[in-house]
């Protein structure tokens, strides 16, 4: 063991190599160059494999929106569902729909987009065997319970409600009337899939092939995806830039720092800590627009203490005890708007958003709040535990503020305490096992801009996201009627009546509408966020 180099020489070598490293380094200034006309944008690592029906979060959805076009597409500005690949979607009874796919569309590998591209993709998405997390989107289609039973093995491979009737035509039969169905078809889960997806699935996952304005040219999972404009794209929304490089950031603060130093072109998640100086930092290159996201407080209706008659007074009282204006202003710096109904402003008045539907119940009034809580028999157990997950989304600040506001209104320092849960997975766990004893955070990001999406999944009896297990026959009846109504305006009216039931019972306390925020570099112009708070990449121009 005597052969080791003497320490002196080792040290000298190390110094020399370090100096060499320093000399060669440091010069790599603008790394934001993927070539002329290509912009770089911040990204988060998608949680699930990138398949249309398996993507239920924003980061994966961002890519699908660039790589795919479906039958419908939501207008980036208004959120209205407009025909994209659909030539016609016809129905007589809101239950059976005849779909005609436009001619001339192909996938970026040259394969034609046909009726089968859709039917195969939907069957794949619905099938229990494929573990698709958005399978429930196909739940309205006839035969879903055979393809995706709640327990046990599936008894069919394909949805009986889907039938290909020609190269470009197919029919969809639903298990109930649903007049809003065509409007849901802009959701990524309904995207068409090329044959390559089924024949060589692993290769497809490595490099997804779609029919949208961009093609994936390289994908290093968990790190970066390069997308380039597909020149032969047949659609009307051709990309106005040459491509996008999506870079994964673990911390939105680093993305922001990169943006400040010119190392990144677009960051679509401005960290809360930077909101104070973002306007001066970016000199007008900051966007802050409403998105289809509503934060609410849900109640554990499975716990008898919260479901007694009279408790609606307590719940309404708690709603009135929250000073939404002040919290939006001081904690969120105007990136939240105090909620006055249970939908979102992005729906627009015609879509069902009604400002002020909540009325007095959402107005800060500490005196009436205290009176109402007392009238309703006081807080169950004399105390409120407000549960939230502490790992993401900086929820702690606002939960503490809400508690503080409630304590002030009720004139009791110990009325409300925040109750953090370590991880989101554990939080979801406790919710699904009905272990949460008090009000809890329940954010909702819309899947598609329909008033139905803000109400039915959340408050319908046993609905998929009805975490508090609230149940009302009156509400359910109104929703059924609204879905069956063929006239859009009449349908929206009925949904709003259902929303009034939610208000009168205070099934959940609406807190605030959330905005999407983004900042961009001087190279870019035409940057906007769609109602899902995702940048509309194809419209961005690079100087």
């Amino acid at each position: 063991m005597r052969g080791a180099a003497p320490p002196r020489r080792t040290a000298a070598l190390a110094v020399a190599s370090l100096l060499a490293l320093t000399a060669t380094g440091c010069g790599s200034g603008a790394a934001a160059d993927g070539g002329p006309g290509v912009l770089s944008s911040s990204w988060g690592d998608p949680q699930n494999p990138l398949e249309p029906a398996n993507t239920n979060e924003v980061q994966g959805g961002k890519v699908l929106d660039m790589v795919f076009r479906g039958l419908k597409r939501y207008d980036p500005r208004t959120g209205a569902a407009k025909d994209m690949l659909a030539e016609r979607i016809e129905t007589e009874d809101s239950r059976t729909y005849a779909v005609t796919v436009k001619d001339g569309w192909t996938f970026s590998n040259g394969e034609k987009v046909t009726a089968r591209s859709f039917v195969d993709a939907w069957n794949y998405g619905a099938s229990l065997r494929n573990n698709q997390k958005c399978a429930y989107f196909f739940g309205y289609i006839d035969g879903y319970d055979q393809v995706h039973p709640e327990s046990g093995e599936q008894t069919a491979d394909t949805l009986s409600g889907l039938r290909v009737t020609g190269p470009r035509t197919f029919t969809v039969r639903l298990d109930q009337s649903f007049s809003g169905f065509p409007d849901t078809l802009g959701y990524a889960a309904f995207a068409p899939l090329p044959r390559a997806f089924f024949t060589d699935h692993a290769a497809w996952l490595k490099k997804p092939v779609g029919n949208g304005p961009y093609r994936v040219t390289s994908y290093v999972r968990g790190a970066q995806m390069s997308l380039r404009t597909w020149d032969a794209y047949p659609g009307p929304d051709k990309a106005r830039n040459r491509g996008v490089d999506l870079k994964v950031y673990t911390d939105s603060n680093t993305a922001y720092t990169d943006l400040m130093s010119g190392n990144l072109d677009l960051a679509d998640d401005i960290p809360a800590g930077q909101l104070t100086n973002v306007r001066s930092d970016l000199e007008g290159r900051y966007i802050n627009v409403p998105a289809g996201i509503l934060q609410t407080l849900a109640f554990p209706f499975y716990d008898g203490k919260w479901d007694k008659p009279g408790m609606e007074k307590v719940r309404t009282g708690l709603s009135m005890a929250i000073d939404r204006d002040q919290i939006s202003r001081t904690i969120f710096r105007g990136t939240r708007t105090p909620a006055t109904d249970w939908t979102s402003p992005v729906l627009g008045a015609a879509g069902g958003y009604r400002a002020g539907l909540c009325g007095d119940a959402c107005r800060y009034d500490p005196k009436r709040a205290k009176a109402l809580v007392e009238e309703g028999g006081g807080l169950p157990g004399g105390r409120l535990r407000l549960t939230y997950n502490a790992d993401t989304g900086s929820h702690k600040a606002w939960v503490d503020a809400v508690c503080h506001s409630i304590n002030n209104a009720l004139d009791d320092d110990r009325a409300c305490v925040a109750d953090p849960v370590g991880t989101f997975a554990d939080y979801r766990n406790q919710i699904s096992q009905k272990k949460i004893a008090g009000p809890f955070r329940a954010g909702w990001q819309m899947d598609y801009p329909l008033i139905q999406n803000f109400l039915q999944p959340l408050y319908y009896t046993d609905a998929s996201s009805n975490d508090g297990r609230w149940s009302s026959q009156e509400f359910d009846g109104l929703v059924d009627r609204a879905n069956a109504a063929t006239d859009r305006a009449a349908s929206v009216k009925l949904f709003q009546r259902a929303e009034e039931v939610v208000r009168d019972q205070m099934a959940a306390i609406p807190l605030w509408y959330q905005n999407g925020s983004a900042g961009y570099s001087k190279r870019l112009s035409g940057v906007e966020l769609n109602p899902f708070s995702v940048p509309v990449y194809d419209r961005i121009k690079v100087a």
């Binding site: 003497p6 380094g25 698709q132 995706h148 950031y249 680093t254 130093s261 790992d391």
Partner: protein
Amino acid sequence: MGQYVMRRLLQMIPVFAGATLLIFLMVNVMGDPVAGLCGDKACDAATAARLKAEFGLDRPVWQQYLTYMGNVFTGDFGTAFNGQEVTALMAASFPVTARLTLVAIVFEVVLGVTLGVLTGLRRGRPVDTGVLMLSLVVISVPTFVTGLLLQLLFGVRWHWITPSVSLAASYDELIVPGLVLASVSLAYVTRLTRTSIAENLRADHVRTAVAKGLPRRRVIVRHLLRTSLIPVVTFIGSDIGALMGGAIVTERIFNIHGVGFQLYQGILRQNTQTVVGFVTVLVLVFLAANLLVDLLYAVLDPRIRYA
């Protein structure tokens, strides 16, 4: 010596098994990992059940552990929730963190030992006091503060570096993150070396060397430094593992896609396969580093002999 190494290797087995079992239990205590997979919604029961079966989460924990360890020995670390093999994640992230750790260790050895020798030989002088004060500051300031500060100054203000490290994570990009990662340990190495040097200055063999009339340089490097480095080597050796596992903060600040990034994602998504796999490898790194340190003793100090 051979026997000693053999004994040490055998000792690793229970340590390895215990450490992995503990981390396995800890991740599992946090509840059902599949619950967090469906965003703000509840997963539909049928899909959740199928996912659980696929990841083996429907079986009792002890059974999961045994299957897992069995697979690990065949090189199969399972699949992460995003459908990627954990081994692929490791192949992508361990080299990056290894490079970062190497840069940090080089800083510790070069800067730390040099400063330690300088101050140890000049105790009580202004240099000594100055370095001591500086190291105190470095130790007391948390890594994320140093990191963010350097990032702001070098990256945003002066444009010397890019604030985030690119996908390639080459050595030159890792200099500043490496310095940040090393900073606290660097201060400890300085202090350790200083004390050790000061102590050994009075040792018999050093006095003998001086009395023999050897040149001062030779006395310091060959006789004084060599024995003084033993505690320092111990520290640096155990630091290798700590640096690799503890790079989470530094890696987040500079957006380095290394072990810290994967561990963070794994914990956030409660991804048992990722977390346990990475920790397993880290445990191995720790054990190997410790063994290396013990073997180095013999090299550094001829007085230490192993049976």
